[in-house]
């Protein structure tokens, strides 16, 4: 989604500069929530303040909102139909493949050194075996990561 946003707001409409765009990407990734939505809020704010942020945010969320509501209407009505059941039984393993593929991509970038690998494995063990809350994993990683980076 980020290349699309860049094309639209930097190249085509020239609403923000490339430097602003890069700032926006970093901020959007370091803040919780969907990156596309964060980027929209950021860009909207740069162009037209708080009102711009709200308008851009709504603009980003609206298409998926409408699509999901339409899909939900049909899905919840035909959920028990065997064709629909079969579709989801077939699609679920593909979702697993997507998840593993995303993990490989992000893992390659994220696990820069031994420290990161150890942190990731440790957190994974805590999540899987001790059922630690996902938010706690994020918090631990942030604290450890910032400590490590301060020393480097």
């Amino acid at each position: 989604m980020l290349p699309l946003i860049r094309q639209e707001v930097v190249n085509k409409r020239k609403w923000i500069t490339t430097r602003d765009f890069i700032d926006g990407v970093v901020v959007s990734q370091s803040i919780p929530g969907a990156i596309a939505l964060n980027m929209a809020t950021f860009t909207g704010n740069r162009i037209a303040g708080n009102a711009g942020a709200i308008v851009a945010g709504v603009g980003t969320a609206l298409p998926s909102f409408i699509s999901i509501v339409i899909i939900s209407v049909f899905f919840l009505r035909f959920r028990e139909v065997s064709v629909v059941q079969g579709f989801f039984r077939g699609a679920t393993p593909a979702i697993l493949a997507l998840l593993i593929s995303a993990t490989v991509d992000i893992g390659r970038e994220a696990l820069e050194g031994y420290t990161e690998i150890i942190i990731a494995i440790g957190l994974l063990a805590l999540l899987l075996f001790l059922h630690m809350h996902p938010a706690l994993a994020i918090l631990i990683a942030a604290v450890l990561g910032l400590l490590v980076r301060r020393r480097r």
Binding site: N38, T41, G90, A94, I138
Partner: protein
């Protein structure tokens, strides 16, 4: 009151969903399946499939779907606003700080620090989907073939999902 619960549950998800995309799935599972028990495990898998098949951010799609299922269009609206609000508010705060101090260096450090946790969360999500979504040999075959296609060809993931779903219809009907 279901609308209030929906709003709070998704505001919590929105506030904690670092890393974007799939990394939000363990959080959603935690809230919706384990804590509030609004969805069963198999309904959660359907939620993931629908959220991924529809364009737009997964967390927002998931919020809309859960909200609609529990309380109609009003529920969908409340849950969607709930999931969007925390990050929108945080962006507006950070943008204000960014002007004064060189916030982007710190933000970059935070992003890099969070990444190992995002990887761990993704593996957790994959573990959960594998445990509940792979029921037989066909499941393993579809997963392996999909993975190979995703890694070797430049195809849209949605296309792979639709082909896998169609295969599912042929196998299980």
């Amino acid at each position: 009151m279901i609308l209030g619960q929906l709003f709070l549950a998704f505001a919590r998800i929105g506030l904690l969903a670092f890393g974007g995309g799939f990394a939000a799935l363990p959080l959603i599972e935690r809230e919706i399946v384990i804590r509030l028990q609004w969805f069963s495990h198999s309904e959660f898998l359907e939620l993931v499939a629908i959220s991924e098949l529809t364009p737009g951010p997964i967390a927002i799609n998931a919020a809309t779907f859960v909200g609609y299922k529990l309380a109609g269009v009003g529920g969908a609206l409340i849950a969607t606003i709930g999931v969007c609000l925390p990050s929108a508010a945080l962006i507006l705060i950070v943008v204000r700080l960014l002007h004064r101090l060189e916030g982007s260096v710190l933000a970059d450090r935070v992003v890099r620090s969070l990444r190992p946790a995002v990887v761990a969360l993704l593996v957790t999500a994959a573990y959960s989907v594998a445990g509940k979504g792979i029921a037989d040999v066909w499941g393993i075959i579809i997963a392996v073939v999909s993975f190979v296609i995703l890694r070797t060809r430049k195809v849209n993931p949605v296309f792979v999902l639709i082909i896998a779903g169609a295969t599912g219809i042929l196998i299980y009907l």
